[in-house]
Symmetry: D2
Subunit: 400 residues, 4 copies
């Protein structure tokens, strides 16, 4: 199989550098191939899609991407400090060769971040051209015929949907007018469609009728949004347990604190709102009723670094109205939870693209906090229902 290009928006961030450095170390058999359902892992049964689909081998993945910080992936992996320094050093040469292309950036969307390695033009059409030509050059240099784009940029501020996203025509007009309601990530998505790069939105952000129309028209598949990693993963699973046992949830108090850029970004009220909306919908959907007294707080706390601590307190009411409590403390690493999902998504979107998929691919809901759904469709949030959805799709693809 020919090599597969992976172009990442925010390639210098913690998640992306963990993906790239981790894969490079896996290629060299320095670290175990853990956490991916499209891979086999030592000491446990292989992932359910490891040997079932014609996925690109890790050795055939080639990485590139954009960032507002110009440092190489080697410097980035050391800075984010997710993988041990002495391991990262073993893939130094490969990582130093990956240097981000200048990114599209708009401060209004990420009020706590700063960066100057940016596309110079403020004209949206020019920016999009720039992104497409980055992809073309990348394909030429590495002789790639397929590319998947993954958005791993920090959460953008929440903005009310405006008319510009209503359909492709309004959106195109908005691009011509440099309408500020078209966020940087929307411009990347548009460029992906144009470049025939299957698109994964791993960051939070609403679905867009305009871009869905565009993807369908260009014959490009996409999936999103917002990787289901730490607290929401646990929430949808424990929520399902309380549902099965008919224990009424009286309240759910969740806090997160983390010390990486994502935390810094989410400490800004606008971005936090996007994220919190994404989290609460999932729980209500899983249990089948609106959970009262559901709170989610996110704070930037420097000592934690990239490690994230999620703490949940759940009050439930049992038999005869008697209250009980559960507390969960998850000492996790955001990037460690996210990275394998990114690898899985890249491989599966590529399979999907080759199988002729176009537009929104809801069978990948398993990976997302806020799975995109068509108007009228109900998103699936239960982890085990999501798993079934994916496996059923895989069986269908395989049987062709």
């Amino acid at each position: 199989m020919a090599r597969l290009g992976v172009v990442i928006v925010g390639v210098g961030g913690a998640v992306a550098s963990t993906v790239v450095a981790g894969v490079e170390l896996m290629k060299r058999n320095i670290v175990p191939r853990r956490g991916m359902i499209t891979e086999s892992s030592p000491g446990m049964p292989p992932g359910p899609l490891a040997n079932q689909l014609d996925v690109a081998p890790l050795d055939e993945l080639v990485f590139g991407g954009w960032d507002i910080n110009p440092q190489s992936l080697y410097a980035g992996a050391l800075q984010h400090n997710v993988l041990p320094t002495h391991q990262v050093a073993l893939a130094r040469e490969a990582l130093e060769q990956i240097v981000p292309w200048p990114g599209i950036f708009k401060n209004e969307y990420s009020t706590n971040l700063r960066g100057d390695h940016v596309v110079k033009s403020a004209n949206f059409r020019d920016q999009i051209k720039c992104v497409i030509s980055d992809i073309e050059a990348f394909k030429a240099k590495h002789r790639l015929d397929r590319v998947v784009m993954v958005n791993l940029a920090s959460t953008e501020s929440w903005i009310a949907e405006t008319g510009v996203h209503k359909n492709l025509a309004t959106f195109e007009a908005g691009l011509d007018a440099n309408d500020p309601a078209i966020s940087p990530s929307a411009r990347y998505f548009y460029a992906a469609n144009r470049a025939h790069a299957a698109y994964v939105n791993f960051s939070p952000g609403p679905t867009s009728p305009a871009l869905t129309e565009h993807a369908e028209q260009t014959g490009n598949p996409f999936a999103g949004s917002d990787g289901k990693t730490g607290q929401t993963l646990v929430k949808t699973v424990l929520g399902a347990m309380f549902r099965v046992r008919q224990l009424k949830i009286l309240g759910w108090y969740s806090i997160n604190f983390l010390g990486n850029n994502d935390g810094l970004c989410l400490d800004a009220p606008g971005s936090n709102k996007t994220k919190v909306l994404s989290k609460s919908t999932a729980l209500d959907a899983v249990v089948g009723y609106p959970v009262e007294n559901h709170q989610v707080h996110i704070h930037y706390y420097k000592p934690r670094g990239d490690a994230k601590e999620a703490w949940d307190n759940i009050d439930v009411e049992g038999f005869a109205g008697i209250p009980m409590q559960m507390k969960v403390n998850f000492l996790c690493q955001d990037s460690v939870l996210a990275a394998p999902l990114v690898v899985d998504l890249v491989r599966l979107l590529d399979v999907c693209s080759r199988a002729g998929g176009r537009g929104n691919q809801r069978q990948f809901s398993l990976f997302f906090k806020s799975p995109y759904a068509a108007p009228g469709e109900t998103p699936v949030h239960d982890l085990f229902d999501q798993e079934k959805l994916l496996l059923d799709w895989a069986a269908k693809v395989r049987s062709r």
Copy 2:
């Protein structure tokens, strides 16, 4: 529908008194009908089997049973202190009328317990006759045509399986010889079969080829064993989550401390062994590989009373071999978690019995830590697979 008798082994214990007092309060609309999948519950969708099967209404349940402690259910409910005193007082008259019949007891099986409200004869055949005649008298008194027996006695000491349990013939010979390898609970089960009372083993204890044969022969259904309430419930659910995300479990350290008789009983090494065996099998089955460094410790700790505290520490390995930790602290009430499962089981075994079920009924695995399986059959431990098994059975029953 005619009234349904429920006879409980260990009717004076914390779980049983919660079941009986709770149902009496629900009949009077004093407390909400929470936690049962065969019932509707305020503020949330009805249980999935609430309106689907012809289950006995709560108002038609009549309770009786055996205990080595002679106090009435009113005194018991106050002593166990699960439901608030002022609520229990509102069902005083009904509860005072339920006085345990003398129980079969063998100190070797419950080394930390004492009791003298016991069947006088040491002859097994006499003891069994006694149990059957208690049931007959109960049916006559309350004009019942159906009875379900539930074993809620404290965990019995673990004993190696001996030849006596091999088949019905050896078992019958063992009864004649008062073979000590036939535990009190085995004698109750035998009596249930003889009295055509569907049997639920909610306490831990291995399946027995002899009694399975007996149940099939007498045309009696049964289900077991060991109610899946607190920590194992959580374990099979989080285990499924780690399986879906391909996170390798490096170790799982579990402790429980509780201050009721069950805790006192489990502090005896023999009983603890029965329980711990039951817990570890479930996790391995859910994740698909033997979990190393899996420890389960149970301690008697008086200040907790009937409330139980379960603590879990889980070490997992994620992407590129990076370790993460999760801690869960469940401040639960053993009896509150168990009681609704008992009500569900009583109703469903009754439906099953009326539908002609006989022998082991594995569709009720959802309720058990150690679901009974026929030789060669693999028990189902995943909570969501268990739920599917039950709902499929219900659909079949309904469609007849």
Copy 3:
């Protein structure tokens, strides 16, 4: 000894109703006399000041006070649900006789609260007259010669200190002008001085040069502020431990959630600010350096009721720079922690008053999160240093 009057600002609140109902039950020997250093407690050594000072016996305490909610203390104790209903019922008659007098209230200071049982006049001098005449009537009715006033009202919004608090003269002028910078609690304090009622500020709030001058001039002792109950109590103790072991605190992340009026009140940004300021000073003082990354978050969470949950995560750096973490989860009851301190303070201020104390009494720092200190004085925050300060004072009083 003659009886001692206790008049409470916010007498209908959770803390006050716990104080009053608890003392009434203790007088009747229904509940143990727990938590007070001026009392003996079953099963443990007597409080260090139990038999050392001539404190008023519990039987001689008479309670009254103001509240913006007119319900009796019996209704209040049931509503706040701190003491079990069936116990409160045993002191019903006594509690029903305590009905709050109308309170001074200003919505700007407590934005999340509402109440209409208020002193009608908006004129400050009239309000103060009203308070004083309430006290006089109370003394006459119960034939009391001594009264202590305790401020247990909800936290007032933080306001920048203005000139009006600079000295007594500016303050008196401010009263004449109904200056809004003079909060309701400042007016109560002024009234206490005028009525010769020793004053305890158990709520947060800065010291005031004007009122200190007033207390000294009128010969009245006072103490404050902000009862050191849950999280800050733990913080000053663990902080002292880290200091002794020279472990550097890298960050301290604290959250509180509670469901009573105090929580509702603190969810308003202004009041929260007063409280958080109070908490952070204490830790820095105990460890001897400004703790970076110290966060305190307080949220209103209804399912908790009066029970409060405090959660702390502490990151420390040990030998050779190696990081470690500690997590503390305190499932406490705000009112249960506060009530015994109130009783101790009432008794000790009375002793102090009789011994001729006037002005700020810093020997009572043991009870406070933000002990009042004179200009130039350093407040003592270490719990064990505070204890020594108090015991030294008691020894001095005793030796006279």
Copy 4:
């Protein structure tokens, strides 16, 4: 000041290798000088004894010692994995030069450990001669005039005190007879006295009248026992808090799990008993009454490695008998907590020795779980009382 020799029993263990490697890195300014009260630490006030006493500078400490495992301290530090590999590498040369001398070992005292780098003779007098000559050679080689011995060996099994420890005469006779009641650590202590090496018993183990007499006779100071590091440190501090607030402790449930040799050793029932006895005495002493329902469990759990996790659940009763709970989860590193205490003790025993101290030095109680006390003396367990004891002694030494 001339250089100070430090000879360690169990020099290859986790604590010792952390001490030695940590000090070597501090000498090179690679890691901060954290956790010692005899040292200054960046970003916080200096330790209270940092500039007060004439303690040996870190640069003047020279390390040696015995172990039943022959690997160098470099190999040991890497194996125990407390300090990061890339830091340890920076002191490789110095650490490789420290190779343990063969140790005295008796399997009956450490049933879960194995080792064959042992003193060949089973004759106690020969073993002691061997230890003394190791010390003499060490002093000669490094031109040292002072040596302190620290016992950091794994916890020995608990044995009932026999007559042999009654006084020096019986002990000497026991040595002649190779009496098995004289444990390896007792032989080391005897050798230390003979070699005029001040002795620190940092491991658990009872005081011995015989060896106290010996130390006094030989003019040698000693201190012990059992370093107060993780859970007991927290216990004596929180216990003091509950004492100050007169909250009655109803129960204290403690567990520890760790994955190093110390954990393996403590999993053996005999050693566990020694340790648990040591822990419970401290709490009772601090609160002033015997705490009921106090449990301490220690388990070996491999995934944790040298890191230790301590969990505490505390039930307390407050005002009017209302119960509350506190939970503490300490994610600590045994060796990181112990190492700085060892450095402090070495320096302070050296000061003490130079100041003419002989026999038991109870002013060092601050460092110990089970401070040695003379018959009739009450050991001081409260951390803050212990601190005062030490500072008072230091002031006296300084003022001479």
